[in-house]
């Protein structure tokens, strides 16, 4: 009797947690498909429409160009940060060179630096170089946040790979670089993939840099949300539609790396 009660209690608790997690997301998705008049009522019964999506992708909102900005900024950031970070992570993981600890600490500690500190000088520099409101500017500042983080993460994954196979390859006749290319990178591929997705999510969701450094041309999706606050008030149904556009690709990626999620993050943190 007590057991069944505990069992039911646990189920109920789990259901409640799932509800708390899913409700805000679900409400946003529902609102995105509501007509404006339904969006301001609380009814669950409504005639679904894709009109909001059509609206946000057309003038004056132009969500399409924001999507493009977000995709380009996130992709290029990942494409630059991950390869560089992977090489550095390998070096940190495998070699005991002089100054290694200091360098690693230096790179890690930059992760704790608030973005506001970095963005001030960048704003001034980009203004000077006429790079304000460009994707390049956003990519550069995003690298600052993402690179140390990815080094840390990939190092965790490489640390977990036993060195046996690498040594075997060296004896089999491979040079260090060849070992990295033929053995380490394929073995670390799942970890590198996970780190890349993580890095993509971070950049995609990045708000502060984009808010300060973009105005019109380089605006990314999260900053785009703010533009739905008009003099007429907040246009919730359009915000929700934009929110769905921000969320869906990231959710798919997040679920894809779900299994590696903790391993990558906690390994570095706890050890």
């Amino acid at each position: 009797m007590r057991k069944t009660l505990a069992y039911l209690g646990e189920r109920a608790l789990l259901a409640l947690i799932s509800f708390v997690v899913l409700f805000p997301i679900a409400w946003m998705f529902l609102t995105a498909f509501k007509q404006p008049r339904d969006a301001y009522s609380l009814s669950l019964i409504f005639e679904p429409t894709v009109q909001n999506f059509v609206t946000v992708f057309s003038e004056p909102w132009n969500l399409g160009s924001m999507v493009l900005n977000s995709v380009i900024v996130a992709t290029v950031t990942v494409a630059i940060a991950v390869p560089c970070a992977a090489l550095a992570a390998y070096s940190f993981s495998r070699f005991r060179v002089k100054g290694r600890k200091f360098l690693f600490f230096l790179i890690l500690s930059t992760q704790f630096i608030p973005a506001v500190v970095i963005v001030l000088p960048f704003f001034l520099m980009f203004r000077q170089l006429d790079l304000l409101d460009t994707r390049i500017a956003l990519i550069i500042v995003n690298l600052a946040i993402v690179t140390p983080f990815v080094i840390w993460m990939i190092k965790g994954f490489i640390d977990a790979i036993p060195t046996d196979s690498e040594e075997a390859a060296m004896i089999d006749g491979a040079s260090r670089l060849r070992v990295i290319k033929d053995i380490v990178m394929p073995m670390a591929a799942p970890g590198i993939m996970t780190s890349s997705i993580f890095c993509f999510i971070l950049t995609w969701n990045e708000f502060l840099f984009a808010l300060i450094l973009s105005r019109r041309d380089a605006v990314t999706l999260p900053v785009g949300l703010v533009s739905f606050r008009t003099e007429r008030g907040d246009l919730w149904e359009l915000m929700s539609a934009a929110g769905v556009m921000i969320t869906v690709p990231i959710f798919i990626m997040a679920l894809f790396i779900q299994k590696h999620f903790t391993r990558g993050m906690t390994a570095g943190a706890v050890k």
């Binding site: 946003m28 940060a81 608030p114 970095i118 001030l120 999260p222 907040d234 921000i246 906690t266």
Partner: protein
Amino acid sequence: MKDRLLPYWLLIPAFIIVLATTIYPLAYSFITSFRAWDLTKSRRPEGFVGLDNYLYAAGESQFLNSLWVTFVFVITSVILTVVLAMALALLLRRKGPMHTFTRIILILPFAMSPALIGVSYRFMFNPEFGVIANGLGAVFPALQGVPWLADPQLAMGILVLTDVWHWTPYMTFMCLGGLASIPRETEEAARIDGASNLRIVFGIILPQMRGVILVMAVLKTIFALKMFDQVVTLTGGGPGTSTETLAYFIFNVGFRWFDMGYASALAWILTAIMMFISIWYVRMLLSERKMATA
């Protein structure tokens, strides 16, 4: 001989990135923090003013307010997140289809853009057509028509809520990782010795989770200190300045009032706080590890 230099070659690309994107701007803003530079008046930095910017901050009520707001925010959000995450992890570590489902969906809040979270909660707490505001009003008549985001305390509460909603899942994953690394035997031995569930949690599990909890608390503290995104999209720092966190205040000084010198000094105060916590964190971790190996 080429092999001896390889470790350094591998570090160079990443190091250049870090140098150019972090170290250089840091140095730049550090120097700027000792200058007067009102961007609305001058395109170039004006003269050095020594510690003036820092001294000014010490007496400025709006800065002190933002410090206080940040402090309140950090304390409540860290405690709530860590405790909730620990409880969730204890619940979720068992196997079962519902457990698995909950674990999977838990990743969603963390993947969601914080700016978007702010927007969503602003919508849901809208007194007229917000689903939570109205839902609560329907269940508890006393809460009908409460101007949630227009009340300083409630606005802060909701700001904390969005942050807890965003971070608890991730912290839960960290906890689950920590729980998985505790050897099952100690718990089983205690169970055979006749310990109750509560005793096992407080007597056996939590003491072994100290290291993980410490890491979580410090990581969360560092991220909470930087709180910015939801402030912009949820409260705009208001009502008044009641939710104006330090990061948001610096943003205002720098990009509304364009006082670069003062903003740089404020940014460095925030950095100093974070550095202090980080160093303390590394120290704690090291001593914790010594204890574990001893």
